[in-house]
Symmetry: C2
């Protein structure tokens, strides 16, 4: 097993190097980059659909979509007239920095100031891979229960914000929002927490405003 | 990268060997073993809670719980007076046959005829690891959307049954059940599909009856 660990460490070291190259590329292109991770079906693409509709009023937006299979998500984003690049991992459980690097030549950076990267739906493996992004967001649907941060701590620990999505379903669930927030903050006390519904739009503007504020801070720095 | 693939193949080969040992052990003990996989928060543990309450009327039941962190799930099962062993993977994104083998000495097989193994919440990685189980079930919540089989095909391809859970929420969702079933069957035309709600109990008896029928077939063979 020692050898396997060494190989894993080598993969992660290589990933970190390529992530740094990505980050330099983003800075050269003047693009601010935000990643989204979550369980399958938490609503990352739906959140992008509603958030990008707002964000594009302020900045030029684009998306890199990561999926094990299908280009469904890129097609949903393109349907909004927003540039989207699909990365199909063909069985791999996460995006890595090299996959993102391979997608960058297809991103029209002359027309993209704010780039979102939507990861494969997986709360475990993507936590280990820096993609070169500036901001990391984890999405969790309220239908998944309150305890996901305790059960999958790495992802919540390395994220800057948590979006609790599908709050339109709260009246029909046994879900304790105060408990959910407390569990998330127990794992990462610096997490910004948003409550959103992509159906009603509730909370989406607040989330968008926060992303723009973070973007402005970095661009000014 | 060739070297990495070789190591991965070696890990999977070792896993297959240990899974065969597990299978022999289950047969010696006269236990029938069913695994559950799903996204985080699809309701695997809730399904176990309601299904085991029914199944225990017919057979002696037990559970091995897999989680990245916490023993929350084993405690929920134990609260029903059902023997449960928690495997904490400490960051690993799936159960493997060796982890299950390590848990077996804690399973009271003199009191367990039907053993469930609940995997880590992950629709990708667990698909590669045979645990030695007789029956593989994938759970998907209807809140996750219809297209999960297309996006995560390996898991649906290797499963014997799909449980579409949380159907009590259907009135509040834009979810096309016919489309969901068609997508699942496109990936695996042999899938048995059940629709369940752990809140109302709908569909749970039918699911339990099917598990018992599969168990009887194997035991008779």
């Amino acid at each position: 097993m020692a050898k396997v660990v060494t190989i894993e460490q080598r993969i992660l070291k290589k990933n970190t190097e390529v992530a740094a190259e990505n980050r330099r590329h983003f800075e050269e292109q003047g693009a601010y980059v935000v990643s989204l991770a979550s369980s399958p079906g938490s609503g990352k693409t739906s959140l992008l659909e509603v958030a990008l509709t707002e964000l594009r009023k302020e900045v030029a937006v684009g998306v890199i979509e990561g999926d094990v299979q299908t280009d469904n998500d890129a097609r949903r984003i393109e349907a909004l007239g927003i540039p989207a690049v699909q990365v199909v991992t063909n069985g791999t459980c996460h995006l890595d920095a090299q996959m993102v690097q391979g997608a960058l030549e297809h991103v029209p950076f002359d027309k993209v100031e704010l780039l979102f990267i939507e990861n494969v739906g997986n709360l475990v493996c993507p936590a280990s891979y820096d993609l070169g992004e500036h901001l990391r967001i984890v999405v969790a649907s309220v239908t998944e229960g309150e305890d996901k941060p305790l059960k999958y701590p790495a992802m919540f620990r390395r994220s800057h914000a948590l979006v609790l999505n599908k709050i339109d379903l709260l009246p029909y669930l046994r879900y304790d929002m105060a408990a959910a927030r407390a569990m998330a903050l127990r794992v990462n006390s610096n997490l910004e927490i948003f409550e959103t519904s992509c159906l009603t739009g509730q909370g989406v503007l607040e989330f968008c405003q926060w992303v723009l504020t973070q973007m402005a801070k970095t661009t000014a720095a």
